[in-house]
């Protein structure tokens, strides 16, 4: 994180209400260019709602979201790839009847410019050239995530861990500057988590993507994120480096209940 540089993403006073239920209340935070930023909080804290606001699925009731100095509160979700934001979903959201390759190619949608007429005249209009060029780049992503062996398999037939990786591949194919990951490690075993953490770090360091992720595994959050935002009942509890945030008494109360003020930090760090 570079001190003084403008943040890549800034949320200003975000509130989100569904009827009488307030999912988010005046949450503000900023993600700096190049960092791994995590949002944590108990179930129902509003983490996914926050990510949905950033990715354009929900429009916040109040507040605004800025990306690289530009107000992106209003543009719809399908403008996000062009703006530079890609995301994965908490519950798998692959196109289950398409092959892995086609799934990832959908991520190139906003980069492929030729429309349906050119596509129908595949050999004439240059669509073939485009497809081949992007196929090459997609293959790099496939190599990176080590899913070569399933590239022609329908996504719906894959086991869970692989599907998670395909979904990450699809989000990476968007070529985002900011990658939103909604629980990338949910339901994974230790080895798969380690692989995924490595992937995320590589994407951050080598591919130059800023990562904003929601994650429940405190060990992973502590290890790979530079800064953390803690939400509870739609309110922001704390924001800062993980080792500082997790010693915050309010955060500890939200996670462990009122009676645990004396619990050592290590215990919290291993809590799921």
């Amino acid at each position: 994180m570079i001190a003084g540089a403008p943040p890549i993403l800034e949320a200003v006073g975000i509130s989100l209400r569904f009827g009488g239920v307030a999912a988010l209340r005046e949450v503000s935070f900023a993600v700096q260019t190049g960092e791994v930023f995590s949002i944590i909080g108990p179930n129902g804290a509003g983490k996914t709602s926050m990510v949905n606001c950033i990715s354009g699925r929900y429009r916040p009731s109040e507040g605004s979201i800025w990306f690289e100095g530009r107000d992106i509160t209003r543009p719809p979700a399908n403008r996000r790839p062009a703006i530079g934001i890609g995301r994965t979903f908490q519950n798998l959201a692959l196109f289950s009847h398409m092959t892995v390759l086609d799934n990832i190619m959908v991520g190139r949608h906003h980069l492929l410019r030729r429309g349906f007429l050119s596509g129908m005249a595949y050999w004439i209009g240059g669509a073939q050239r485009d497809e081949i060029a992007h196929r090459g780049e997609v293959e790099e992503i496939i190599d990176f995530l080590d899913i070569q062996h399933v590239r022609k398999a329908p996504a719906g037939t894959l086991p869970y861990g692989l599907r998670k990786r395909v979904e990450l591949a699809r989000a990476v194919a968007v070529k985002p500057k900011l990658l939103l990951l909604d629980e990338p490690m949910a339901g994974m075993n230790l080895e798969e988590k380690e692989d995924m953490a490595r992937c995320i770090l590589d994407l951050n360091e080598e591919w130059g993507m800023t990562v904003l992720m929601i994650e429940h595994d405190m060990g992973v959050v502590m290890d790979i994120s530079q800064r953390v935002l803690v939400l509870d009942f739609g309110r922001k509890l704390a924001e800062g480096p993980p080792e500082v945030v997790l010693t915050d008494p309010q955060v500890r109360r939200a996670y462990l209940g009122g009676a645990s003020d004396g619990a050592p930090a290590g215990e919290l760090a291993t809590a799921p």
Binding site: D102, V106, R108, H109, H110, M120, E131, K152, P154
Partner: protein
């Protein structure tokens, strides 16, 4: 089941890996099939040829419906009305002095325009609500045909011309066959290309998971409307071919029953399969012939006397169509296209099962 390629078939470029016909055998099969089709008018009798022409023009319309229902996951039970619109429009253009061969694609474009108007609600509606909206399209268009004398010729219907190529009238089945064949090849190539490129993938993405499709930059409203437009284009093209083949178009042909037959074609053929559209159409065109043949074979026997096959043949046809749809939905929901893939797999792997 993933794609099966023979051992030793290594692709060395993305170009080679992205062919429609991936293996040498499949390319040969395609060329031989095409050559056989070209030779068909020389060997087949007029009746068999007329069945093939029917398969061709209905197949194009079914292909359009498959884009809408199979690939985009929308639904339409007004397809026959668009088919009819294309037929009348082509007849109209021809009457205005446009050469018939040009009137056909023009009529298809006119149908696209109408389809887009009726497709606008499709940008927001799904499932049952869309069924009702397209049902409205069916009845509005049918009513329009019945009332707009200038367009449809009213009750009397409309007589059309045969196409004419450099002074040669394409008025026999043998000659018209090539017109249909040309459009079938063009249409199926175009759609096979569409579904492997950007916008085709976007359509399938809208069907499979519209929320994540949106997050990948796919404009849902645009693609839902687009698929309606493309479906109407092919319906109109099929209708235009129909008009100049029968040389007579009248209102009562394009009923909702006909729309449901189109749906049956894509369900039986295989939703979301380009080849399936043609297989399903073959099935639906040939099924009544089979029923007729069976009835003929049973003539005079005990079953015939009990059921009076001769006089109830029309009902029997409808019933077999209904039964076929139900049986396919129960036993082979992915249609003939999947059955065909299984047969190919069996053949390749014999004597092993996988």
């Amino acid at each position: 089941m993933s794609v099966m390629t023979p051992a030793g078939d290594y692709r060395e470029s993305y170009h080679a890996d992205m062919c429609i016909f991936p293996t040498r055998n499949s390319r040969w099969a395609m060329l031989v099939g095409l050559a056989l089709c070209c030779a068909a008018p020389l060997v087949l009798d007029r009746y068999a040829l007329s069945l093939m022409i029917n398969i061709g023009m209905l197949g194009i319309a079914a292909l359009g419906l498959n884009i809408l229902v199979g690939f985009t996951g929308q639904i339409s039970i007004g397809h026959a009305a668009f088919f009819g619109f294309g037929a009348f429009a082509s007849a109209g253009f021809a009457d205005l002095g446009v050469p018939v061969l040009l009137a056909m694609p023009l009529a298809a474009l006119a149908t696209t325009a109408v389809g887009l108007v009726f497709g606008l609600p499709a940008a927001r509606l799904k499932g049952l609500y869309l069924v009702i909206a397209t049902l409205a399209a069916q009845f509005i268009l049918e009513d329009f045909f019945a009332r707009a004398q200038w367009f449809s010729g009213g009750v009397a219907g409309r007589v059309t011309d045969a196409p004419n190529l450099f002074g040669v009238a394409l008025d026999t089945d043998a000659r018209y066959f090539y017109v249909v064949l040309l459009w079938v090849v063009l249409s199926f190539c175009a759609v096979a290309n569409l579904v492997r490129t950007r916008d085709g993938r976007a359509l399938i993405a809208v069907r499979d998971h519209y929320l994540s499709a949106e997050m990948m930059g796919v404009d849902l409203a645009y693609y839902r409307t687009l698929s309606f437009g493309i479906a109407s284009f092919f319906a109109g093209l099929g209708g235009a071919l129909y008009a100049h083949y029968l040389r007579f178009v009248s209102v009562e042909a394009f009923t909702i029953l006909f729309s449901i037959q189109f749906l049956a074609m894509v369900i039986i053929g295989g939703l979301g399969s380009v080849m399936g559209s043609l297989l399903g159409t073959c099935f639906m065109v040939l099924l009544p012939e089979v029923v007729q043949a069976v009835a003929d074979a049973l003539q005079g026997g005990a079953i015939d006397r009990a059921l009076k096959l001769g006089s109830s043949i029309a009902f029997l046809r409808e019933m077999t169509i209904g039964a076929a749809i139900i049986l396919f939905l129960v036993f082979e929901p992915e249609g003939l296209a999947r059955r065909w893939r299984l047969i190919k797999a069996y053949w390749k792997l014999y004597p092993y099962s996988y």
